[in-house]
């Protein structure tokens, strides 16, 4: 990985962090409604993985999807406007935080039914294979989704047909408020791939470069026609499940163990230590992305809302 790439990944993680902090603040002000699931702490997953695919490759994700959208090429303005429910949003204000779509960037949805996106991502890979295209689908889901039937149905089909899909599990250790260890007979998610004769790996989800390398390998396998890979990235969400979560189910001591493993701090230290960037350069990046986010919030505030006519028009395609 060259220096420019590493700096880009740092910038993207910093952008997500600032974006999410701003989103949380705007939620508190009542500008964002519904459920809001922040990605703070998990930035290395979206950034490391999505940098390993090409623009024309597909991404399917879940309801904690702002980070994926930002890395896949959606403008911070359009993502923030979606959170505000504005017509300038990526989904024209019709989807909201949990349903970010951007066809142009091949972001085929955030889905709010746990596990619901997994077979859709598998299906995209089926469509790719059927049309003999040199593309892959990067399919994000969380640890909670692996106990859903659709996960198993999809792994089986994908491996059986050697589909070009990467099943990327963001294991943040908690399915909403229930620890993985309390809900899974086999909490090591990567092991589940074995049952389907699928390649799998576990990776440090706080290390963006490790995530990138693991995903590059999986994507190469998929493009070669050698089938899917399950990647389990161990990560941690620093905030609650959603803004409504008081986080009573885990200890402050546990959180304190994870705090120093902040993926952005780790990357910053590494870049400086290795002489790849200076403190000033990185501080400048932080300032830049802060301005980008401020602009995004301003844009969202000023944008118009969709109309009642839009609501009725957008039920059926004509």
């Amino acid at each position: 990985m060259d220096r420019e790439q590493r700096i880009t990944m740092y910038r993207q993680m910093a952008l997500i962090r600032h974006f999410e902090e701003a989103a949380g603040e705007q939620y508190g002000r009542g500008h964002i409604g519904g459920f809001l699931h922040l990605y703070i702490g998990e930035e290395a997953c979206a950034v490391g993985a999505i940098n390993a695919i090409r623009h024309e490759d597909y991404v399917v994700t879940h309801y904690r999807d702002h980070g994926h959208a930002l890395v896949k090429g959606c403008s911070p303005r359009a993502v923030m406007a979606e959170l505000f429910g504005k017509v300038t949003g990526v989904s024209h204000g019709m989807g909201g935080s949990m349903h970010l779509f951007c066809k142009e960037n091949r972001l085929m949805g955030g889905y709010a039914i746990v596990g619901g996106g997994i077979p859709i991502g598998m299906g995209i890979a089926l469509g790719i294979q059927f049309q003999e295209q040199n593309l892959v689908c990067l399919n994000f889901y969380g640890d909670g989704a692996v106990n859903e039937g659709e996960f198993h149905e999809s792994l089986n089909m994908a491996s059986l047909w050697k589909l070009p899909v990467v099943f990327f599990c963001e294991n943040n250790l908690y399915a909403m408020g229930t620890a993985m260890t309390r809900t899974a007979a086999v909490p090591e998610i990567y092991k589940r791939a074995e049952m389907y004769a699928m390649a799998s790996t576990q990776v440090d989800g706080m290390d963006v470069e490790a995530v990138y390398r693991a995903t590059v390998e999986a994507v190469e396998r998929a493009r070669r026609g050698d089938g899917p890979t399950l990647i389990e990235a161990i990560t941690y969400r620093f905030k609650g499940h959603s803004m409504a979560d008081a986080v009573v189910y885990r200890t402050r001591a546990e959180e304190n163990v994870w705090r120093p493993r902040d993926p952005i701090v780790l990357m910053r230290e590494r870049l400086i230590e290795e002489g790849a960037a200076t403190e000033d350069e990185l501080a400048q990046i932080d300032n830049d992305v802060e301005q980008v986010v401020l602009d995004a919030v301003h844009f969202a505030e000023e944008s118009p809302e969709p109309t009642v006519e839009d609501m009725h028009r957008l039920v059926y395609a004509v």
């Binding site: 066809k103 949805g109 039914i113 619901g116 469509g127 659709e150 149905e153 089986n156 395609a317």
Partner: protein, 330 residues
């Protein structure tokens, strides 16, 4: 015009679609077995494994996989062996296929064709004998059709292929061997347009799928008593063609909604409620509802017969609505 079976008509429709290289069929036992109802018999040998895809028994992933394949630009036709099994894909159909167009702000439409087989009877027991197409007809974003004739089975399928939205097609197991005139050409039957199957002036019978045939029998019984019944085949359950229904009721001033499924378990009540508002001034009597027993389908032959409406029950209800001598009908 050639006379062919409902099954053969569907086969013709599928063949027409398979001329498009983006189309493939996917479902349980559609290939090597030839389809549980022999609709795709011989297709595997003819089109090969790539186009005729046998799947694991995994309805959720079959439908959601179809959604994904559509997103990638292919045109899959997914088949769920029977409507009973579609419930395992209810999330994929209702939460995903139906909502993605709206949720994406109109960016991503899902022209997915979902074929399945509905129907009550044949002593198949509670889990293989029900008509739940009405559940799907309640879902904005889906289109739902239930063909009653061979020509419609082909024509609605081809219209679904032209459509940009997810279309749920409920074929009826008892109709596969029925025959009728079907144009050889790929003639489309537009979605959302009902058909008048028999003209009459005294009462309108509203039905879909197999109950259209049952209503035609009831109309024969009524004709013996000098009552002429108009039989409307809804064909599409979503969207519904109220224009045709209202025009007929405007003429007959009486209507019966007929459904194969248990009363209150499908869209009949909704149709009646809507019609009462639209045609209240034309009506000389409240719209009646003849449907099955609202129970899980019993296995016992006699009980099963009691649970599914028949032509006699429809004729009796019609006779009651027309009063006087006509009460003796059937």
């Amino acid at each position: 015009m050639p006379i062919i079976s409902y099954r053969e008509a569907i086969r013709q429709g599928l063949r027409e679609m398979l001329r498009d290289p983006k189309v493939f069929l996917m479902g349980e036992d559609i290939g090597a077995y030839g389809g549980a109802f022999a609709v795709t018999k011989g297709f595997l040998a003819e089109y090969g494994e790539k186009r005729i895809k046998d799947t694991p028994i995994a309805e959720a992933a079959i439908v959601a996989g179809g959604i994904g394949a559509v997103m990638a630009g292919a045109r899959p036709v997914v088949e769920m062996m029977t409507i009973n099994f579609t419930l395992l894909a209810f999330d994929a159909i209702v939460n995903h296929a139906a909502k993605i167009y709206a949720m994406s702000g109109g960016q991503v439409n899902i022209p997915l064709i979902m074929r399945t087989v509905t129907g009550s009877g044949n002593q198949l027991g509670a889990q293989h004998s029900q008509n739940i197409e009405g559940h799907y007809a309640m879902v904005p974003g889906l289109k739902v059709v239930a063909p009653a004739t061979p020509a419609d089975a082909k024509g609605l399928l081809l219209a679904a292929y032209d459509d940009k939205n997810p279309v749920f097609i409920a074929e009826h197991f008892a109709l596969y061997n029925t025959k009728g005139e079907v144009p050889e050409e790929p003639v489309r039957v537009p979605l959302g347009v009902a058909a008048v199957r028999r003209e009459g002036k005294d009462i309108t019978l509203l039905a879909y799928s197999r109950m259209v045939q049952t209503c035609l029998k009831a109309a024969d019984l009524l004709a013996e008593r000098g009552i002429t019944a108009e039989v409307i085949d809804l064909r599409s359950l979503r969207p519904l063609d109220y224009e045709t229904m209202c025009a007929s009721i405007g003429k007959t001033r009486r209507a019966i909604m007929v459904e194969e499924t248990g009363i209150g378990t499908s869209i009949g009540g909704d149709i009646i409620a809507t019609l009462q508002e639209m045609v209240f001034d034309d009506l000389v009597a409240p719209i009646r509802w003849v449907a099955g027993a609202p129970t899980p389908m019993p296995y016992n032959r006699n009980l099963e017969r009691a649970a599914i409406p028949n032509a006699e029950a429809i004729a009796i209800a019609a006779g009651e609505m027309l009063g006087g001598e006509q009460r003796k009908v059937a």
